[in-house]
Amino acid sequence: MTWLPLAILVAPLAVAALLLFTGRRLPRGGDWLAIIVMAACFVGSIGVYRAVMTPSETEQAVSSPAATTAHDDFAAPPEAHELFGPSVAWITVPTTTSETANHEPRTATHSFAFGTYIDPLGAIMLMIVTGLALAVMIYTTWYLHGDALYPRFWWTFSFFCFAMIGVVISANLLMTFVFWELVGLGSYFLIGFWFHKPTVDKDPHYQHMKASYATGVIESKLSPADAQLKAFVMNRIGDAGFIAGLAICAWAVSAWATKGGFDLPDLLSWDILFRAVHEGAFDGISLCGMSGGTLLTIAGIGIFCGAIGKSAQFPLHTWLADAMQGPTTGSAIIHAATMVAAGVFLVARVYPLLTPDALLVISVVGGVTCFLAATIACVQWDLKAVLAYSTVSQLGYMMLGLGAGLLTGGYNAGIAHLFTHAIFKCLLFLGAAAIIHGCHEQQDLNKLGGLAKKMPVTALVTGLAVLAILGAPLFSAFYSKDGILAASWLASNSRSLHAHGAHWLLAWLPFWLGAATALLTSYYMTRWWVRIFLGQPGDHHVVDHAHDPWLRGRIVLVILALGCFQIVWTHHLDPFTAHAWLDDVIQPKTEGLYATMPAINEAQLEHTRHAYHVKAMTLATWFLAIGASLAVAVWWLMPRLGRNLAGELRAVWPMSWWWTLTSKLWGIEWLYDRLTAVFGKGLGSVAAAADLGTAKRLSELEGKPDGQPTCPLGLPSLDGGIDLIGRTASGFGKLSSAFNTGRIGTYLGLTALAVALVLLLLV
């Protein structure tokens, strides 16, 4: 059983490698091979899940201490445990230290290893990843059939699955980073699937199907090729923070181990890393006057930067909407269900590293993201763009939950939302794929409408998914979404108790933004569904031939729809605190934060949490009712009555102002374009000119073939300055021109002469 996760990891890689070289020669592009292997992986991951949740007698030995912790509220159910796979050293660097008393150098060996690790969090994530990948693969055989690049999808997608599984089952921070970047590469491949397309302002097809209202997109800089570049570089911005945080962690652990005088088989493995934090490894380091505690916060925020990039959090969220340039089914899993959720997963994984300050940062970033994206989603007219911004918003929601801390229940709710969201957002994207495919690639909500009759199955399942994302009772997000709201409410309350001014504002901001998002979400998702499936189509030609997907597609949709119901999740949403370290490490650390809370003992805390959950549930249900009714009124009822209420509202101040701001994406896209122009290209040009001289100098250099550099020296460039030194050193040029006779014999003779001369000089 310990080998099973490794097998699940390697199998998609083998498929990807095989299909990369042979895919085009295999029948149907080798899709059957990818699907069969992924099905096997899914079955295997069910086995892993069962093994983790119900250990057999023989595997008791590897079960974690948490399994026996009698901690009713926070500890795992007694049957959950961890599964450590085989581990091999990847890099072993002997480290010599002079820290010993007698100044004799001593050598310690610290390794970075590759290994697998599964806990309940990972086991469920593994099932979600392989299961959704399988569903999407089967669906894609319908969606992409006939595409010229059909074989290319299968190896890129298998590669992505390999990387994603790697993130889930990695046993240490470094390997997580390795697979983390590979996930980014998989996403790069899939966004640029149609790499040959021009930018969308020159793409007649896109111009035909794009939404009719301005959306703030810079069309001359949007194409699959640009989108993939943007996604990769923005992810890299986050990853720079990730690797800096990782380096600080490695420094602290290494210093701790050196002082303790022991070798580490895997420097950054979860158990060593968290034990080191627990035992005060960070107290042993300092940087520029910052204490170890501050460095721990910085490391946590640095790693969170990686999550900001991958999970498209503010301010790095802009790549996700562009990523919709990829095939919709690819987006379904990468930019909705799994890759973007990896950031949330990472935060959950490194939770014991996160200090209260880091959690506050995560809360604020999550709150700002979910609100910002929700406001944008309200005014988007591209049906995929609505879903993209909705994804950003929901990811912000998860961060909001995680940032609320463990004692508030935010950790649990955030992770629960990660899983429930993965299913219904994947379903929404697959539904969108069906609509786009059925309506001549039309994505404009204005031209769609009344599709419920033509696509009953799609209408039904996406309707269920919308209810789920709204957090309606009996649906899956009812628990997770309200839980996040309750936790952030509680956290904001306790953070604000002794805070004043800006700190007080900062404490409450995440909750306010989260609550507002609940309202906005119910509005824009209802609008999305109503606009597509009810009412009259804006353009009859578009919907004339609309139809549900093939049978296999419908089956996939219906199976995923089952995952939208609360009942499926009932027994699976609680065990994430099985992390042994969460009890050992987090709780003592966060006690300080919550010491001001009126209730601190277990029973009282449970009572407080329950009270907040009820409050949040009431609030969220009201918001749901208001937002959904508003959307139905504006987008279904009023058009039936012949009134364009939306248009009228848009014209009234301050709605006009708000509409402009949000439909221009808050100006962020524009700002980044300017920043790239100034700091990337502008500053790059200045640096280039300072180095080799201006374009004029270079062209003059190039324009004088084989001549002495008679051009202006190109000062103040560095190269020009060196030329000046060279020219003042007289005679060098003439001397060398004597060598340049063009005869090999001369050159070889001179070489030999030079060597001989040197030898002679020495004697």
Partner: protein, 566 residues
């Protein structure tokens, strides 16, 4: 005389002679034969250091040339040399295969072979004069290769290369001779590390020797178990006046206490040598010959220049300034690390806006070499290992990128980034390898570039090499390590933006719609590099096993120096 290390020098020299004598159509094959011999010997050396890792020199040859002056034909290698020799052999073979000079075949391959002899010689020379001769032997053929077979501006580029690098070499020679003439006739008594004696010394009948010098000191009261010959405590040796590099490395405490013109010889010598090898690395500020040389040089010469000659600079930096003058190196650590970090960021920024593909790759080399400086200045095991791995991986990556630019240039006769577009459609294999090379160069985990950059960052964040400079500078190298993380953004930006403009989007130039994809000869050059890039990226441990002991020796020496033995 035909031990493997001499073979590494003699084989290309013989090839050079044979090329000159035989008809022109044999030139390539003869040169290839010489390069293959180098590859085999180099790989053998590398395998030996992997299977039997250890610090200290092995396979030594020591013939006295001028005994009175202490001038010896002294060759030897350790893990660091061996890794470089293996890389050199590979690059040499690939460069010969990738060469297709249009004229003067014999001269071209003859010079190429001489260049290889020089490069291999630098990696194995243990006598500073022999080192210097090989250093020059590699510069002059390179000057001629650029100056005669280069592009339109070849003479300007070649002159710039020659003046800057030869200017550097003069400083090197000056330091070598200066050190020699400042050593007293009867030698200097200096302390050495006990563990160095135990690890690298030899047991003679009744005493220990280290690098051929007999070790004296206080007798140890207790003999370690199994030691037949008593080990002296506080060991010292008397270093004679000679050119032996290993002996020079023992003399550091002497130089830090001897002054010339009021400056300690250690400081003076360190900076002179730093500039001498810094031109070659190239260190930021001394790098402007590189873009010119690369742009003008033919493809294969660019490959050798980037993959091999820049490595000689870093190799010499580790051996000479850092080996000879550790006290000065510690004082200079902040500046070296700062130069490295600034190079990573600034050269990346410059690369972003380059319009010539070769110039872009040239600046990426300057940026990548910044990691070597940073890692070395950190003086931690991770940092220095990372710096050396970065040398190897940059060798693979830059060779790959220059070969790919050559593939394009052969087909289209230009290298302007904005003159291409959508080449992934007509040339899928080329596009795949180019994307691969860009990602490897951008440090994608799983490919070679990541390992070096990771270890450099980890090593420099852990560094406390600056602690002896002053309290305020204590954290400087750590902060530089964190700043270097920003490099991963810039590197990805300029490489993948280049990839996007050249490979993706619609085909912009109609004539390029049916360019032929890579042919078999080109694949013979590219595929080995691709495979090695993956192998080193996935399984870097053999490389660390090979270079680790040498690096550890360096780190130990510095730890000893910092621990109060200044």
């Amino acid at each position: 005389v035909l031990d493997p290390l001499t073979l590494l020098i003699v084989a290309p020299l013989l090839a050079a002679g044979a090329v000159w004598l035989l008809p022109a159509d044999r030139a390539r094959n003869v040169a290839l034969l010489g390069a293959l011999a180098c590859l085999i010997a180099g790989s053998g050396a590398f395998v030996d250091t992997v299977l039997h890792p250890g610090a200290g020199m092995r396979w030594e040859t020591d013939l006295a040339l001028i005994p009175a002056w202490g001038l010896h034909w002294h060759l030897g290698m350790d893990g660091l040399s061996a890794a470089m020799l293996a890389l050199a052999g590979l690059v040499e073979v690939i460069a010969i295969i990738a060469s297709h000079p249009e004229s003067r075949q014999r001269g071209y391959f003859c010079l190429f072979s001489l260049l290889f002899a020089g490069a291999n010689g630098v990696f194995v020379a243990l006598d500073s004069m022999v080192f210097y001769v090989f250093w020059e032997l590699m510069l002059i053929p390179m000057f001629l290769l650029i100056g005669l077979w280069g592009g339109e501006q070849r003479r300007y580029a070649a002159m710039k290369f020659a003046i800057m690098t030869l200017g550097g070499s003069v400083l090197m020679l000056a330091v070598f001779l200066g050190l020699w003439s400042n050593t007293p006739n009867d030698g200097v008594k200096v302390p050495v590390r006990l563990d160095q004696v135990l690890e690298q010394g030899h047991r003679a009948d009744d005493h220990w020797t280290l690098h051929g010098l007999s070790v004296s000191g206080d007798p140890l009261p207790q003999l370690p178990a199994g030691m037949a010959v008593p080990v002296p405590d506080h060991p010292t040796v008397i270093v004679p006046r000679d050119f032996n590099i290993m002996h020079q490395q023992l003399l550091w405490s002497h130089w830090s206490h001897t002054t010339l013109f009021g400056i300690s010889i250690a400081t003076l010598g360190f900076w002179l040598l730093f500039v001498a090898v810094g031109v070659k690395i190239p260190v930021l500020g001394l790098h402007t010959w590189l873009p010119h040389a690369h742009v003008q040089a033919p493809t294969a010469v660019s490959v050798v220049l980037a993959a091999l000659l820049l490595k000689l600079g870093v190799y010499a930096l580790i051996r000479l300034p850092y080996g000879f003058f550790p006290t000065a190196a510690l004082d200079a650590g902040i500046l070296v690390a700062g130069l490295g970090t600034f190079a990573i960021l600034y050269a990346g920024w410059v690369a972003l806006m380059q319009r010539d593909l070769k110039r872009l790759v040239a600046y990426s080399s300057v940026s990548h070499m910044g990691y070597c400086l940073l890692g070395l200045a950190a003086l931690t095991a991770s940092g220095v290992n990372g710096a050396v791995i970065q040398m190897v991986t940059h060798g693979l990556g830059s060779a790959l990128l220059f070969l790919l630019v050559g593939v394009l240039y052969d087909r289209t006769h230009h290298r302007r980034v904005d003159g291409f577009g959508g080449l992934a459609k007509p040339m899928p294999v080329f596009a795949g390898i180019t994307l691969f090379a860009a990602l490897a160069s951008a440090g994608l985990p799983g490919l070679a570039g990541f390992v070096g950059e990771l270890l450099v960052v980890l090593g420099s964040v852990q560094s406390d090499a600056a602690r002896h400079v002053s309290a305020t500078h204590y954290d400087a190298i750590r902060v530089f390590g964190l700043l270097a993380c920003v490099g991963v953004i810039i590197t990805a930006a300029y490489l993948l933006w280049m990839v996007r403009r050249v490979l993706f989007g619609p085909v912009t130039v109609p004539e390029y719609a049916d360019l032929p994809d890579t042919n078999a000869t080109e694949l013979w050059c590219l595929v080995p590099l691709v495979v090695l890039t993956v192998v080193v990226g996935v399984w870097p441990q053999p490389l660390i096993t090979s270079i680790g002991p040498t690096v550890d020796e360096l780190v130990k020496q510095f730890a000893w120096v910092t621990a109060g033995n200044r």
